[in-house]
Amino acid sequence: MNRKKVLSRILIGLAGLWLCLELAGYTIALVQHARKIPAELEKFVSEKNLRELQAKNRQLAGRIKSLSPRGVLILIDTAENKLFLREGTKVFREAVVSCGSGEVLEEPGGTRKWIFDTPRGEYSVQSKLVDPTWIKPDWAFIEEGEKVPKSFNDRIDEDSLGDFALGFGDGYFIHGTLYTRLLGRNVTHGCIRVGDTDLKAIFQKAGLGTRIYIY
């Protein structure tokens, strides 16, 4: 047998093996997929009649609806840097904001570390402040390469937070900003910065307890 014949037989053999494996793979996948209805669902289906199921579904849909918050909601999209003031499905204000930068700050020679993310999840408005004062935390000084002050008065900053602030826990606020040109960018230390006009509208519309969803 010459070389060419041997080579072609090897190739045909390999192709055959590959095709067999392909066929086996496809068959197994189809069989696995055909078992779409798991045993528990099959039992459930056989036990109930269609009307019963439909009634149960309506009841469940109602239960989910009852869990939905009522009234004004604040939704914050940290990817788009947008805040939506919403009631039901109606959005009555959309504001461009600034959310957390995602940067990391480590204390030189220390053990403390901060990640400047805007926290995600469900929150509620816990405090409403007019002409808020920022009590600068340690990281604000460390970031600037300054010494952390011992006196409380050295931490007071009356200008940075704008005219209003809505606190939602753990020192996070929805507040005003001096850096309006950076609205729409992720530049903050975790708080949500809003432009003056939008901030005023949000402050007026949202009461204590208003739900905030950050995603």
């Binding site: 590959w18 469940l60 930068s101 990391v104």
Partner: protein, 211 residues
């Protein structure tokens, strides 16, 4: 005679068809029931969750039953074992080029160049996979641009006609199974935004209704 035969056949099909259609309706109602049961359990928690609806070709980000954001999908492909309709926890997001956080150098004035350190949605990967328990994997990618379409088609064909069948056989020999879902997003922006929104540990329901 012919008319009678046709009438008989029609009657037979109608009689046979009624219970079949009812069974189908029942399966759909049962699947919907499972989805609603799973969602009702998640909606009780103070955390957002995802619903990947392969029937509607939409990904929903929800909290307490309300839709926070949604993404339309261009295409979906499914391979392997059907996924049961229940809450699944995202174990890991993985990408070839995952985003990296940058460290702030204390006291260093970046002269207004904020782009040096911040992490934004544009820095997220657009091709990645989401891994769940039970060997369930969702691969996400945007719709290919014309230039890359050829390469993407070759890659996709290799994956579908070689890699996945071989993986199926290999795992079947070890008495294991897996599920792989491919989601094709409308564009880069959507793909990156989904990566941003999905958090490890977050709950997700994959809903694949019967056709």
């Amino acid at each position: 005679m012919l008319k009678k035969a046709a009438g008989g056949i029609a009657l037979f099909l109608w009689i046979v068809g009624i219970p079949l259609a009812a069974a189908d309706e029942k399966t759909k109602a049962a699947e919907m029931n499972q989805l609603l049961e799973a969602e009702a359990a998640l909606a009780k928690l103070p955390a957002s969750y995802f619903i990947v609806d392969l029937g509607e070709k939409t990904v929903f980000l929800k909290a307490r039953g309300i839709v926070l954001k949604k993404w339309e999908l261009r295409r979906t492909k499914f391979w392997g074992k059907a996924v049961s309709i229940r809450a699944l926890q995202l174990l890991r997001k993985s990408a070839w080029f995952p985003p990296k956080r940058k460290n702030i150098v204390p006291g260093k004035d970046e002269q207004g160049n904020i782009d040096l350190g911040i992490l934004e949605v544009k820095d997220m990967p657009s091709v990645y996979s989401l891994k769940f328990a039970g060997r369930i994997k969702i691969s996400v990618r945007p719709r290919s641009r014309k230039f890359f379409l050829f390469f993407q088609k070759v890659g996709s064909a290799f994956r579908r006609y070689t890699y996945l069948p071989l993986k199926t056989v290999w795992l079947a020999l070890k008495k294991k199974s897996f599920s792989e879902i491919e989601l094709v997003m409308a564009g880069d922006k959507d793909s990156k935004a989904l990566f941003w929104a999905f958090m490890e540990g977050q709950n997700c329901i994959i809903y694949q209704p019967s056709k």
